[in-house]
């Protein structure tokens, strides 16, 4: 027994440790650092956009470059920022939370990470090919026929989307295999922490969605180069078909980006309320119903294409229904806080802000489902405000919450609470100044994806731009905080948080390189 333990405790060092690692903790760390880098890259693109939009007229970009920025900002943030961050959490936390020694398929795990740097090198290299047409510029939704016109950047984007898709599908297979096969004795499905549940459901969504995206961008590629006309009306194809297939991926994707966030918040709130999660069972069922509904609402992204009225009514009703399970989740989080004994460390602040601000995005989503009103909102800044409220004040806030929550466990050091609180409040001010005025811009009639605008949109654009720079620059505090915590600081205890409950908190901080070599038993 002792020799076996010794054998398993090898701890490689240097660059090869990271290149060849099959350790879920190392891979989780790489995913999270990669996501942080992409978050900064995508953030710089957002700041270029906001700088251009600070006042009417063209100042720093030409319209073609502006379109590349909006397209790449979205692709980088979705596929490079939020998704890898959640996979990083999954890698670190799933084995620790279900009492498994590692992920089920560790070599594949290494591969699914290492595809990503190549995918994003391919995608971002297009920025340096301005002579050949530069980056993809048809929006992240790459609607044909516009995307068929694009330069070489569109092909690079398609191939990098293929690689990201392979990476995601491999990751999803790994998550499912791990959760279904590697749970410690006694860890029944309905005893799993909610983060594990949300990731299990997310993994199934990934399996359902990513191959559809790969298929549709492949059709686009053959339309561009091999003479097919899937999406070309002149050749008997259908431009709207692309939108249907794209959003059949795209809407589950929205929940891929938010369900793990629900999971993180469901871990953080009970810890700092010192009270068990309210309505665990209904949370699981609500997550599953959201996942189901997410597959039958895709056409609400395309109400203006001219669908038959029965189709519009169906997609409106189905979309409205999503408000029910989402509402259940929000009520349960608030009921968890109710009559708790709350403290407000940084993870809790981010979690509360998530519940509060995500609900704004949820309610504007409900407004968007109302078809006649959607005709006014569609493709305006109201939509931009909506999806940034669910993705930034939703997913990104949950990611911050999760990092502050688990960083002491991962690194063995407490982060600097004062710096954390500064980061929180500056982020709050910056992001709300950025995104809230966009509601007004959209209602007043400003279309999205335009580099220049009519004069009546000036004021709110200026507020949004100022907010964006506050928001962007305050993330440097986060980078400093993470680096300082990784390097040193006060020792973290095993439990870290007074109210923390779960298998990961029974391990040392940081946990041993190989944890749960012997499975714990859950009563």
């Amino acid at each position: 027994m002792a020799t076996a333990a010794h054998h398993h405790d090898e701890h490689p060092t240097g660059i090869t440790r990271w290149m060849f690692t099959t350790n879920h903790k190392d891979i989780g760390t790489m995913y999270l650092l990669f996501a942080l880098m992409m978050f900064l890259v995508g953030g710089v693109m957002a700041l270029i956009i906001r700088a251009e939009l600070f006042q009417p007229g063209l100042q720093i970009t030409d319209p073609h470059f502006f379109n590349q920025m909006t397209t790449l900002h979205a692709l980088v943030m979705i596929f490079g920022g939020v998704m890898p961050a959640f996979v990083g959490f999954a890698n670190w936390q799933l084995p620790l939370m279900i009492g498994a020694p590692d992920m089920a398929l560790p070599r594949m795990n290494n591969w699914s990470f290492w595809i990503l740097p190549f995918a994003f090198t391919l995608l971002l290299s297009t920025v340096f090919m301005q002579g050949q047409g530069g980056g993809p510029s048809a929006g992240w939704t790459i609607y044909p026929p516009l995307s068929v016109q694009g330069g070489i950047g569109t092909d690079f984007a398609i191939l990098s989307i293929h690689m990201m898709g392979i990476s995601s599908v491999l990751g999803a297979i790994n998550v499912i295999a791990t959760i279904l096969n590697m749970r410690a004795p006694g860890m029944t499905l309905m005893k799993m922490p909610l983060f594990v549940w949300t990731w299990l459901i997310t993994a199934f969504l990934l399996l359902g969605a990513m191959p559809v995206l790969a298929g549709t961008v492949t059709m686009l590629l053959t339309d561009r180069h091999f003479g097919t006309s899937f999406f070309d009306a002149a050749g008997g194809g259908d431009p709207v078909l692309f939108q249907h297939v794209f959003w059949f991926f795209g809407h589950p994707e929205v929940y891929i980006l938010i369900l793990p966030a629900f999971g993180i918040v469901s871990q953080v709130i009970p810890t700092f309320a010192r009270k068990p999660l309210f309505g665990y069972d209904s949370m699981v069922y609500a997550t599953a119903s959201i996942a189901f509904l997410s597959h039958i609402v895709w056409a609400h992204h395309m109400f203006t294409v001219g669908m038959p009225i029965t189709g519009e009514l169906f997609f409106m009703y189905a979309t409205m229904l999503i408000a029910v399970p989402t509402g259940v989740k929000i009520f349960n989080w608030i009921a968890t806080m109710w009559r708790g004994s709350m403290t407000f460390e940084t993870p809790m602040l981010f979690a509360i802000a998530f519940v509060f601000l995500f609900t704004i995005g949820g309610l504007s989503g409900l407004m968007l489902s109302i078809v006649p009103a959607d005709f006014q909102y569609h493709d305006t800044y109201f939509v931009v405000a909506h999806f940034h409220y669910v993705l930034v004040t939703g997913a990104v806030l949950a990611i911050f919450s999760g990092v502050y929550y688990w960083l002491p466990k991962w690194s063995g050091h407490m982060y600097n609470e004062t710096l954390g609180k500064w980061h929180f409040w500056l982020t709050m001010i910056g992001m709300n100044l950025t995104f809230f005025p966009m509601h007004f811009l959209g209602l007043a009639g400003m279309p999205r994806r335009i580099p220049d605008y009519a004069l009546q949109f000036t004021e709110f654009n200026q507020i949004a731009s100022v907010g964006a720079f506050i928001f962007g620059l305050s993330q440097l505090l986060f980078v400093v905080l993470v680096i300082r915590t990784m390097r040193g600081g006060a020792k973290a205890t095993e439990q870290v948080w007074e109210g923390a409950d779960g298998l990961e908190w029974t391990l040392s901080s940081p946990p041993p390189y190989h944890s749960f070599a012997t499975a714990p038993v859950i009563k």
């Binding site: 709207v240 309505g279 009921a335 009519a454 004069l455």
Partner: protein, 418 residues
């Protein structure tokens, strides 16, 4: 329906409030003395509200950042509706927004109460409950019922919007990169509508006009009080025709024909924009509708027909080199969006100065202008420009930007090349 009345009152109060904010910000911008400023606001606002103060502050912040640019013409909600459908949409939007806001306030009142009261620093001891089937059923069923309440007015409005039957007038709308074409099949009128804001304003070399980016050379002219049916499609990529005050936004899709209808209440100029990303100049293809009385509309139809026959006559004559160059420079404005005002090219779009096509054989040059280049943004202009326009622009391109072919291309040659 008392709520409809309340909504309308709310809408009116928003409008009044907006007018106040406008005046205040305007006063601020005028950099008047504090005294005058106060006088202005006293004159306008009899009962200043806290909300008003908040917005005055925001306007002041905005004004501080860009003096001279601030228009104070911002609004917080939809522009005033000008058709019954747009009014219905606004009522629906306000109704749903108010319901959402009320739900939001109630739900988060609970959360903030808990945050204030149920905290450890106050010595509050945590309860241990973690389940309640009754509550779960309540907050599943109650939202569902609210949703049913929202779905009913939404459905009735949608059904009304979809009825395009019994229209008085049909207009075909075709989206092009980056302009709109309007056809009146019954009146036999057809023309393009292109952004008329000068380049200098966009590049910041000239002060921006009142309708910056929302002005065109040939607006769509429509009669008021008639049910107008628009039949919408596109020539190249997907566009979307949108005028907020009519409550209409519809995608223009190649190979698809979409229909919408509207009945404009009163004469006026209504402005909108393309709403679907359609390439480089997506932000520069506005929609302008000039709504006029039936008599004025009929006069306009006659004038349009006279203009068209004059154009046709000009195409048949032989043009001088100078005439062609002058006309060509004018037509080239549209080409310059991609190929650069001086033929220098823009990003991926090729330059014309010294290019093989603009300095090579005339036939190849005519062919690419007439037929376009498939798979690129270079469109076939044969349907968009008449023989004289194409002859002029080709002559211009072959004798400008340092190109010195000396060629003069006549409309008759273009006709033969078609």
């Amino acid at each position: 329906m008392s709520h409809a009345g309340a909504l309308r009152a709310w809408r009116v109060s928003l409008g009044v409030y907006r007018a106040r904010a406008l005046e205040r910000a305007g006063a601020k911008r005028a950099k008047n003395s504090l005294f005058l400023n106060r006088e202005t606001s006293m004159h306008v606002v009899r009962s200043p509200s806290r909300r008003g103060a908040w917005f005055r502050r925001i306007a002041a912040v905005a004004a501080a950042f860009a003096p001279g640019l601030v228009t104070a013409d911002y609004r917080l909600n939809f522009p005033p509706p000008e058709t019954s459908i747009a009014a219905n949409i606004l009522d629906l939007h306000n109704l749903i927004m108010i319901i959402c806001a009320i739900i939001f306030l109630i739900v988060f009142a609970f959360m903030f109460y808990a945050i204030v009261v149920h905290r450890k620093s106050r010595g509050y001891k945590a309860a241990t409950f973690h389940d309640s089937a009754r509550l779960e059923v309540l907050w599943t069923v109650l939202p569902f019922l609210i949703l049913v309440g929202m779905a009913i007015p939404s459905t009735t409005t949608l059904i009304a919007m979809s009825d395009v039957s019994k229209s008085d007038l049909t207009v075909n709308v075709v989206g092009y990169q980056w302009k709109w074409k309007y056809d009146f099949p019954e009146q036999d009128i057809s023309f393009f509508s292109t952004l008329s804001t000068p380049r200098e304003q966009i590049e910041g070399k000239a002060p921006k006009g009142e309708n910056y980016l929302l002005e065109v050379d040939n607006p769509l002219v429509l009669p008021v009080g008639k049910k107008v049916r628009l039949v919408i499609t596109a020539n190249d990529v997907i566009h979307a025709w949108w005028v907020p005050q009519f409550g209409i936004k519809k995608d223009a899709i190649p190979g698809y024909i979409n229909e919408v209808w509207m009945n404009i209440d009163k004469p006026g100029v209504y402005r909108g924009q393309c709403a679907e990303l359609c390439g480089k100049d997506h932000g520069f293809m506005p929609v302008v509708v000039n709504a006029v009385t039936q008599e004025e509309f009929e006069k306009w139809v006659v004038a349009q027909k006279q203009k068209a026959s004059a154009e046709a006559a000009r195409a048949d004559k032989v043009w001088t080199r100078d005439e062609l160059l002058a006309k060509g420079k004018q037509v080239y404005q549209a080409c310059g969006a991609c190929h650069g005002p001086n033929g220098e090219g823009v990003g991926p779009f090729p330059k014309l100065a010294g290019s093989k096509i603009a300095t090579g054989p005339v036939a190849a040059h005519l062919s690419i202008v007439l037929k376009g280049k498939p798979g690129t943004a270079m469109q076939a202009f044969s349907a968009q420009l008449n023989d004289a326009d194409i002859a002029a622009v080709v002559t211009y391109e072959r004798n400008s930007f340092g190109n010195k072919t000396g060629d003069v291309v006549q409309p008759a040659q273009v006709k033969a090349a078609r």
